[in-house]
Symmetry: C2
Subunit: 204 residues, 2 copies
């Protein structure tokens, strides 16, 4: 699932690395769930995964990175570029988002929900994730520029990308207890509704 499409055989070494990496993340997420993010030390994670603390940092540059790893926006961008050209950028992105979500199986979705919860709850993680959102603006802008044959540095293109990311941010924020007040809608539905609203010109 990581670099299979090109390499015909993963090689024995790679398999071990992948297994170690998975073990670290699994134990880390479990410990975070059990005792909280801040209360869990890297040493604990390392011990649980049966590796040395140094090894932990060889696999994940920071403690935060154990949780953060998207793949999702990569999927979405890929799908975005394959949308029919007659769709408006927002409509195309909406369709791409649906497509990207559909590519995930139930297990992926569960894991996604779990890490999303952590991400939005823990301040440090949330901050990092927001920074990712910012990077995503650039990525979407570039994809949109390619699609519409414009310059990637075009101001209008960047602003459009910013609006897309902004409404997604707003749609996925479960903070401030407002999500609980909402009827229980899933992340995908909220994102879809948000993009639909942006497409409609943000009516109030």
């Amino acid at each position: 699932m990581r670099e299979a499409p090109v390499a015909p055989r993963p090689g024995l070494r790679e398999r071990k690395k992948a297994r170690t990496r998975a073990a670290i993340r699994e134990h880390a997420l479990r410990l975070f769930r059990e005792q909280g993010y801040a209360a869990t030390t890297v040493d604990q994670i390392a011990e649980a995964a049966d590796v040395s603390p140094s090894t932990f940092f060889r696999y994940f540059p920071t403690k935060e990175d154990v949780v953060l790893q998207d793949e999702l926006d990569v999927l979405a961008i890929g799908a975005f570029e394959e949308q029919p050209i007659d769709l408006s950028p927002v409509a195309a992105f909406r369709a791409a988002a649906r497509q990207a979500f559909a590519a995930l199986d139930e297990e992926d979705l569960t894991k996604l929900r779990e890490t999303a919860e952590l991400t939005l709850t823990v301040p440090e993680l949330r901050a990092r994730a927001m920074d990712e959102y910012a990077r995503t603006i650039a990525v979407i802008a570039e994809a949109t520029a390619r699609r519409s044959g414009r310059d990637p540095n075009d101001f209008a293109v960047r602003i459009l990308a910013g609006a897309i990311v902004g409404v997604i941010m707003a749609a996925t924020m479960p903070w401030n207890k407002w999500a609980e007040a909402q009827p229980h809608t899933d992340m995908l539905d909220r994102i879809d509704a948000a993009l639909a609203q942006l497409e409609a010109g943000l009516p109030l």
Copy 2:
């Protein structure tokens, strides 16, 4: 400028606190400018400001907080609520932003530019600032809800707020060298142009 409107006299103690706080921030920003953010230790800042390291953390919970402190969005929200009711939310916010910027003198502007540069350059600071953007969505949503007599938890209101913040994010991002390619426009002009484009329905 901090809690003057209520208290008739600051009191001697308060003045000392304010002076200490200002000294810490001033020396911190100077050191950051001279040697970079990461290369500057809290101990150095404390020594330069002639206080103990413990005192530093009594004034600023983290090293990051020395740089981050908005006041600007507070101004903007205040101005937003006083805009004529016949303006669309985006138009009203656009006017409010202009008004908030106009309230700053040249010195404030210089300091704002300086901290903005730092904020967008240093990853940790940028991440924290992005998190602030997220909080700002909620604030704008509440103000918009009040203005339009809607529920603060209304989905459409939140999404609108997200779009506003999103385009501002995109407009103020000087990363990836794209800003240098732009004609030298100032932050205010870029924000204004972004909001104008959102108001116009994000034409490409």
